[in-house]
Symmetry: C2
Subunit: 313 residues, 2 copies
């Protein structure tokens, strides 16, 4: 197999993929990282990370990602800005070689680490799709400044929704958090901060039925989950954080996934296909955090290294 150009191709350059790259580089594996968007992945939609060990007071996300990327320098790890359209076994005659197909050509390797992360789920209600970029947003950090002195709604009750609600008060005059349950899921310290913020109000036990507006968001139609009563709120922006959807469509029928599309892995980050490993937010697991994604990247690289030792030429 001396003609296989890479030992491992890492698909996705968020914290999981970058840490996998760091470890793969230190294991001296010939490593290619492919990333369809910008290096950093989904977390680039956050401005600051407060709970990554080693950074008291938090660190701007861009800085953390730049620092992780710098660690790959000098290790011979290649990074290409290109989308992986598919991953497949090359042929029955070369069962241990994988091909990653991209618009810029195919790349072959002896193993694969999938770290494609996830993206934010849509509500799936009328008006949402057509008003994306015209008031509907999945990124407070990106779009918050467009809503200076305007009123916005944040949909969701988890950490991300509450973090974004707090962030949006820097710009918006009023932030309404709309959540379908009667209590938030977010970490207590975030809930306290949000509840203490005079710009933030809460509309609980309520779901969004439609986004109102012709050319720009003008408001939301809501329904109370217990009373079933309909209501409406007026707003110029709506930020949607109701959970994540793994970016794994390109792997359909290649590795086992759960119903939502999260890749099923064992404790060594092995997928159902020998030689393909997965880590980070695209996998089925308990806790979706930057620190856990990094650790899983290290574990996936460790397992790929072991696999290559035992499946060598």
């Amino acid at each position: 197999m001396g003609n296989v150009p890479y030992d491992v191709i890492i698909v996705g350059a968020g914290p999981a993929g970058l840490t996998a790259g760091l470890y793969a580089g230190r294991y001296r594996l010939k490593t290619l990282v492919v990333e369809k968007m910008m290096v950093g992945g989904q977390i680039m939609l956050s401005s600051t990370i407060e709970n990554f060990p080693g950074f008291p007071g938090g660190i701007p996300t861009q800085d953390l990602i730049d620092r992780m990327k710098q660690q790959l320098d000098g290790l011979g790890v290649e990074i290409k800005n290109v989308e992986a359209a598919s991953v497949a076994s090359v042929a029955a005659s070369r069962p241990r070689v994988y091909r990653v197909s991209t618009p810029e050509g195919d790349f072959e390797s002896r193993s694969i680490i999938v770290s494609t992360g996830a993206h934010w789920k849509r509500l799936g209600v009328p008006g949402e799709e057509k008003l994306i970029g015209r008031g509907v947003s999945f990124c407070g950090t990106c779009d918050g400044p467009l809503f200076r002195n305007k009123e916005v709604c944040v949909i969701g009750g988890g950490d991300k929704a509450i973090e974004e609600a707090i962030f949006l008060t820097k710009y918006a005059s009023k932030v309404m958090v709309i959540h379908r349950r009667n209590s938030l899921r977010a970490t207590e310290i975030l809930q306290e901060q949000a509840k203490a913020n005079p710009k933030i109000s809460f509309i609980l036990d309520s779901v969004v039925e439609a986004v109102i507006g012709e050319n720009r968001v003008e408001g939301l139609k809501l329904r109370h989950v217990h009373t079933n009563l309909a209501s409406a709120v007026s707003c110029q922006g709506v930020f949607i954080f109701i959970g994540i959807q793994p970016s794994t469509e390109f792997l359909a029928a290649v590795v086992k996934m759960d119903e939502a599309g999260f890749i099923i892995i064992d404790t060594e980050k092995k997928t159902s296909m020998p030689g393909i490993f997965a880590c980070g937010d695209c996998t089925e697991k308990h806790l979706y955090q930057v620190i856990t994604a990094c650790a899983e990247g290290a574990e996936a690289a460790h397992s790929a290294h072991n696999y290559l030792l035992h499946n060598g030429t």
Copy 2:
């Protein structure tokens, strides 16, 4: 249970325990961390950490630990410098309360996170025990400067042994790496660095039979594992890195462990005892790294928080 002073007691303040503390504090759990030695734990025996994501060029271990500790400031997490002698359920009438006994008194909590780490294994050969501190060492960073222009042996072939061998060349005139197998286990980049270093030589397929010396280390008796031939090397120091032993004796009969004493946990870091979680080097797992210890600490705190939500007053 309003009279239980802590929601969680974290036993051990290495990277796993400190990250558990960071997350527990952000979950607003009343949290006590107890540490018998210095904050940082076993990694304080290393001078620098090169492969922690976010620190290009590496970071001095003391700095990384200081930064992690600073993150607990302002979260109301208490840290006490005291040894946990035992952990037990308080009484059949209060099955959900645990007591951590220490020389400074007992502390009660509704859950426990064990992050006591591990320490370096002894060779178990004649001369080793009596010459600890007189040439026998488990810490190059601590004791390296004592061996300026002297000859030392490093026992082991893993990452830690090779890192320490490289570090010791700053002081010693000659570093002999003695390993029982015919190839090293260490990460390739470390092997390359060691092999390129003119001060480092390798004695493979060899085990230590005895440490020679009356009041100070004078040398080692070796045996070749294939030929069975005995030999001797002269040296003034011997640094032993042949694997780790979990620091879990104080928990014997409380939670399930494997034969070596590593705590058996599930994917949520639950031990066999409800309300007791474990993370880091004291647990049975695949990869023992600072980044994985941190992630496991976050996961243990997350699971403790969930447990407390469902086992409240």
